[in-house]
């Protein structure tokens, strides 16, 4: 385990609208094995009623993933702590909005964290940094490294995920990372990578489909 080992500063230019996305019936909708775990669902139900013990348990289960995401995006452990704190307060207040049919609790919590972190970058002076600083090195861990997915999925499945992601062609993975971890739009990715917009769209589409096909039903 590391404490915010990432070095790159990544500007981000827009925020993924988490609440809107998660209020839609379509996002993270459960498909076969992709249903949220019963335990997480029960914990969030209890959190929605003001159960602090359930909230503490939810923290223990998901704080590593969430802090890892915040660290990776912000590259600052202090800011990552602030984001984690804000995100958990949001979960405390809005746990009732979580719908297990729309996805796993871990995905929900990670996306809330990701959006808060990117929102913070947008509001800071780091936003003025040029996009060419984004993604100098890959956000994705090497296949042999312990990842945040271990805390959620366990060792075997985390390895499976890592293998699927590191197995993507480099150009596809780069475009996906710039979108998810740096918050760049398709146009910004196109400029950053000096590639036509159509090429970027195609890379992202192919990369995500490949990931989906390799992981669907196996997590």
């Amino acid at each position: 385990m590391t404490l915010c080992a990432c070095n790159d500063l990544r500007p981000a230019f827009r925020v993924f609208d988490a609440e809107t996305v998660f209020s839609l019936p379509v996002f993270f909708q459960s498909v076969n094995d992709d249903t949220a775990s019963d335990k997480d669902v029960e914990l969030l139900r209890r959190v929605a009623t003001g159960d602090r013990a359930a909230f503490a348990e939810f923290y223990d289960l998901h704080s590593t993933l969430m802090f890892s995401v915040a660290c990776k995006i912000l590259n600052d452990p202090n800011e990552a702590q602030d984001v984690l704190q804000e995100t958990f307060m949001q979960i405390w207040e809005k746990a009732a909005r979580f719908d297990p049919k729309l996805g796993k609790a871990s995905s929900w919590a990670a996306t809330l964290t990701r959006n808060k972190a990117i929102d913070r970058i947008r509001a800071s002076v780091r936003r003025t940094r040029l996009a060419d600083e984004a993604g100098v090195e890959s956000a994705i861990a090497a296949e042999s490294t312990d990842t945040a997915n271990e805390s959620v999925h366990g060792h075997e499945k985390a390895r499976l995920i890592q293998s699927a992601i590191t197995g993507l062609p480099a150009e596809q993975r780069k475009a996906i990372e710039l979108a998810y971890f740096s918050g760049l739009t398709q146009d910004e990715i196109s400029k950053q990578l000096h590639e036509p917009l159509g090429t970027i769209k195609a890379r992202i589409r192919r990369g995500l489909l490949k990931l989906r096909d390799q992981l669907e039903g196996r997590l």
Partner: protein, 265 residues
């Protein structure tokens, strides 16, 4: 059929890489297209995995205590339906104002009577009667307040009439009564066509009018009638609408929009 362009938009959408305008347009397209919704849902498997594919970083131990302490200080607020007119509050103030007048009148009248109590016993009796009358009036006001409190409880009830979308069962009708506090409801259907053995009706509560939440399956009798008590599989915050779809036996995870038979709110 989802074309390649729409697949690209879906991929950009789940990564948050669409511009605000594009994202709005995509959401509109998605809202009207169940196939696109399912497609996006499957793509989210990839983004969920992506989030954790980074080196693990443990938060400092003291942060846990700090966050839990903050939660301890901050009581959860339960949101109630917004009401333009708040009769309970109004009556509360009215009651207080009325009592203040009563007390003022009582003090104003009783004090001089104390000085003349021996000589004017009949007047005291009269005043006592007046006090009793006012106490009765106060009791009535309290009864009214209690009744209004009951009315306020009803504000958490949602009653909806569902009408038929079927050409062969145009008289089918249903009423749904939902108690948001108890998170349970009663559903009454009339004149809905009976289904073959391999099909079921499935009830959905549309939370905030958009998010379909499974409320269970049911069948109707030979006359097309049934009364069922139901609970949802997820917490409902705002039962905006109700809908019934015809599904395969046992129900499904997501409603089949084209098989919607009743809807209303």
């Amino acid at each position: 059929m989802i074309d390649e362009r729409m697949e690209e938009q879906a991929a950009l959408h789940v990564l948050g890489a669409l511009s605000d305008t594009e994202a709005r347009q995509f959401k509109q397209a998605m809202a009207a297209d169940p196939e696109l919704q399912a497609y996006v849902a499957r793509l989210s498997i990839a983004t969920g995995a992506l989030a954790g594919a980074i080196p693990a970083a443990e938060p400092p131990p003291q942060l846990r205590a700090k966050i839990l302490a903050q939660v301890g200080e901050k009581q959860k607020t339960v949101s109630l339906p917004e009401r333009k007119f708040r009769p309970l509050l109004w009556w509360g103030w009215s009651l207080a104002f009325g009592l203040a007048i009563i007390l003022a009148a009582f003090n104003h009248n009783v004090q001089p009577l104390r000085e003349k109590v021996v000589a004017q016993a009949s007047q005291i009796t009269s005043l006592n009667q007046m006090v009793q009358t006012l106490q009765a009036a106060t009791n009535n006001l309290q009864q009214t307040v209690l009744a209004l409190q009951e009315t306020n409880k009803l504000a958490n009830m949602r009653i909806a009439m569902l009408s038929s979308l079927l050409t062969d069962s145009p008289k089918a009708v249903a009423v749904s009564l939902w108690d948001n506090n108890k998170q349970e409801g009663v559903f009454v259907v009339q004149n809905l066509k009976p289904l073959p053995a391999d099909r079921d009706y499935q009830l959905w509560v549309l939370d905030h009018g958009t998010t379909p939440i499974d409320a269970g399956i049911f069948r109707v009798d030979d006359k097309g009638n049934v009364r069922v008590e139901f609970k949802t599989k997820s917490l409902i915050t705002d039962a905006g609408k109700f809908a019934v779809t015809e599904e395969s036996r046992g129900g499904v995870a997501s409603p089949t929009i084209k098989n919607m038979v009743l809807v209303g709110g």
